[in-house]
């Protein structure tokens, strides 16, 4: 069943990601420091991303997890300069040795889609409905490499085989509407891989897909990543998905990072009550029918208003006056484990 002798002649084997360095930021492929994104709207300022810092080591997967409006998508779009003009972006994003914030659009184009590629949630809207999928993949190849038509065609078929599109050669001439959602997402991944990126940003790439398809695509992404030594930023609302596929997890809330650790450590020692709330809200197969889920009340804060104190404090079960007045710093409080909380879970001392 797992006949995949394809990768050997695939789109060039990149050197496998440097070692098992875990989280150390030295030699990081991407380093985001104090990233801030403001949107101006009717005189008010919406702080969509509010001082975000993290790093993506080569060849590893970082999961950016949070609910709608927590800034996970905006922050990743800021990295590749895909935000509208109304956005004001400050801070630093270093990719290899290049600073991406403030980069001219022309220079950015050499990075975006080439060294950093992106796959979005809705493959139907990302593909051109009037072009055959083969042409869309070859277009991407021509964009990044000066090759003949025949070479581009061969490489497109190779890419289609690499993402395990069944009957690749015949599919070359099909249109997007002739494919299922899962197959369209495979085409999107093939296009993203055409330039042999060092970093792939998958923004809710499997959210719109069926459960079995989602698992297949995630397994494909993990397999490709290991084979090509590519780093992956996996943006998702699903902590369960991160547990299964990410090496490191960064949980975001209200535009900030609130907890970050290697996946296993994070799930074994959840410190931030928000992460705890997210985990407790996931239905578990072990639970008997009709067992109640712990539901945290309220909603995320309005980012157009000035934040005082911890943004999660209005919803937090362990809230105290200190939380309402002072925002806790997002610091490394245990080796490789950062969190922003005055009253971390499992560490409460009797006072």
């Amino acid at each position: 069943m797992s006949t995949n002798g394809v990768g050997a002649s695939g789109p060039g084997e990149l050197p496998a990601g440097g070692g098992e360095a875990g989280l150390s930021t030295d030699g990081a492929l991407l380093e985001v420091t104090d990233l801030r994104v403001d949107f101006r709207q009717h005189g008010s300022v919406v702080r969509a991303v509010d001082g975000l810092s993290y790093a993506v080591p080569r060849g590893r997967t970082v999961g950016l997890i949070g609910e709608s409006g927590c800034g996970k998508t905006v922050s990743s779009r800021a990295i590749i300069g895909l935000l509208p003009e109304t956005a004001r972006v400050t801070g630093s994003v270093r990719f290899e040795d290049q600073e991406l914030i403030g980069l001219r659009e022309r220079r950015m184009r050499a990075v975006r889609g080439k060294q950093i590629a992106m796959v979005f949630q809705d493959p139907a809207r990302s593909l051109n409905p009037t072009l055959r999928i083969g042409n869309q993949i070859t277009e991407a190849i021509h964009l990044h490499a000066d090759v003949s038509k025949a070479t581009a065609h061969d490489r497109a078929v190779e890419l289609m085989e690499l993402v395990r599109l069944p009957a690749a050669a015949e599919r070359f001439r099909q249109y997007p509407h002739q494919l299922s959602g899962g197959m369209r997402q495979r085409v999107m991944i093939a296009i993203a891989l055409a330039s042999q990126p060092k970093l792939l940003i998958a923004d809710e790439a499997t959210t719109a897909l069926d459960v079995t398809t989602q698992a297949q695509i995630m397994e494909l992404l993990r397999d490709l990543q290991q084979r090509l030594g590519m780093a992956l930023i996996m943006i998702s609302h699903d902590l369960g998905l991160a547990a299964s596929f990410a090496d490191e997890v960064l949980v975001m809330y209200a535009g900030r990072g609130v907890e970050r650790a290697p996946t296993r450590k994070l799930f074994e020692h959840v410190r931030m009550p928000y992460t705890r709330a997210l985990l407790d809200a996931i239905p578990r197969l072990e639970n008997p029918p009709h067992s109640p889920l712990t539901a945290v009340p309220g909603q995320p804060p309005d980012l157009g208003r000035e934040q005082v104190g911890c943004p999660f404090s209005p919803r937090c079960p362990s809230v105290t006056d200190k939380c309402r007045e002072h925002a806790p710093p997002f610091e490394e409080q245990e080796p490789d484990h950062r969190w922003a909380c005055w009253h971390p879970c499992g560490l409460e001392r009797t006072s």
């Binding site: 069943m1 797992s2 609910e67 709608s68 069944p166 299922s180 959602g181 899962g182 197959m183 069926d210 459960v211 079995t212 398809t213 989602q214 698992a215 297949q216 995630m218 397994e219 609302h237 699903d238 902590l239 369960g240 998905l241 547990a243 299964s244 596929f245 996946t263 296993r264 799930f267 074994e268 709330a277 997210l278 985990l279 407790d280 809200a281 996931i282 239905p283 578990r284 197969l285 639970n287 008997p288 029918p289 009709h290 067992s291 109640p292 889920l293 712990t294 539901a295 945290v296 009340p297 909603q299």
Partner: protein
């Protein structure tokens, strides 16, 4: 179990596909011979992926549109073929909550008007009585009527709008609510809130739910029994506990293997071992067992003979020639521990 509230028998729903000239090009076999039962106060979870026919089944139950053939009885009253006025009356007992509240609620109406509308349609009470009832309903779903009653859908968050949709569904005191992916468009924490609300309403009002979702873990959380659909067919039905503990149909096994575990140390079985390929077209479904083209256990017989939905445990039915686990004395069942047994049939 108590008297059946809803009985669906041999329900078939098909649609004709036409080519550009208007000639018949094929038939979509959306729901094929589905039978199920729902007791008063019971929750039946209906699980399946896109194109499995679960939403079509729900609509056929409501006669919107009526099924091609088969029977739908609500408290013993046959709905198929019922005259318009009678059907209108009967529908009062069955309400629906959809996935996207912003799509299902009229954007120009205020929350109060949205909840009142079914009461007006069925001429319930006086104006003052209706207004009192609307306040009660909004309160029941956790929305303060004075704060939220005057808001339009776009002035509400997704969770709040879904609460309005639920209040609207409750207005006529239905016995059954069909929930079609009611929390799929909501964020994780809001989802838990709305699920908690649905559970509370179930116990307080004695509601029965037909709970349609693609997420197996979520369905288990709310259901007494679970039915699994694949390509228009019911492939497995059983009490929630035993269906998850001992899934019988290979498709159920694949669905279970697809759920990402929130425990990183849990050993994951690759989904590729449990299911392969793509969903076939419902216009020309595979012969015999419809799952056979993707099934790791498929043998020759699966292509020639359609497996009937048969009882294999206490209230636990499956439509499979080679059920997983196979505890029953079925000598033809291969002694597989499940897994990547590749029987090259096609």
């Amino acid at each position: 179990m108590s008297e059946p509230l809803l009985e669906v028998e041999h329900l078939v729903q098909e649609f004709t596909v036409r080519d550009r000239g208007g000639a018949k090009a094929g038939t979509v076999h959306a729901v094929s011979d589905v039978s199920l039962e729902l007791a008063t106060g019971e929750t039946l979870g209906l699980v399946g992926e896109t194109g499995s026919g679960k939403s079509t089944l729900a609509r056929a139950i409501l006669q919107a549109p009526p099924p091609k053939s088969g029977s739908v009885r609500l408290r013993g009253v046959e709905l198929v073929g019922l005259k318009r006025q009678k059907l209108f009356e009967a529908r009062r007992q069955v309400q629906m909550v959809f996935q996207d509240p912003f799509g299902s609620l009229d954007p120009k109406w205020r929350a109060r008007e949205l909840v009142e509308e079914p009461l007006v349609a069925f001429k319930v009470g006086t104006r003052a009585e209706r207004h009192k009832r609307v306040d009660e309903l909004l309160d029941l779903v956790g929305l303060d009527p004075t704060r939220f009653g005057g808001r339009r859908p776009r002035e509400l968050s997704g969770g709040q709008a879904q609460r309005v949709a639920i209040a609207r569904a409750l207005a006529l005191d239905p016995a059954l609510i069909i929930c079609d992916e009611p929390v799929s468009s909501l964020d994780v924490l809001i989802r838990a809130q709305v699920l908690g609300l649905l559970e509370r309403l179930r116990t307080e009002l004695g509601l029965a739910y037909l709970f349609i979702a693609h997420d197996l873990a979520l369905v288990k959380q709310v259901s007494d029994r679970v039915a699994v659909m694949y390509l228009g067919k019911l492939v497995e039905v059983g009490p929630a506990e035993s269906l998850y503990r001992e899934p019988l149909h290979p498709y159920t096994v694949a669905l279970l293997a697809s759920i990402p575990s929130p425990d990183p140390s849990a050993s994951r079985r690759p989904v590729a071992d449990t299911i392969r390929g793509e969903l076939p077209s419902p216009i020309d479904p595979p012969s015999g067992c419809r799952f056979r083209t993707r099934c790791p256990r498929a043998q020759d017989i699966c292509a020639t003979e359609e497996p009937p939905l048969r009882r294999l445990g206490d209230g636990h039915l499956a439509a499979c020639h080679f059920p997983v686990g196979a505890q029953e004395s079925n000598q033809t069942a291969p002694a597989l521990a499940g897994g990547a047994h590749d029987a090259a049939t096609d």
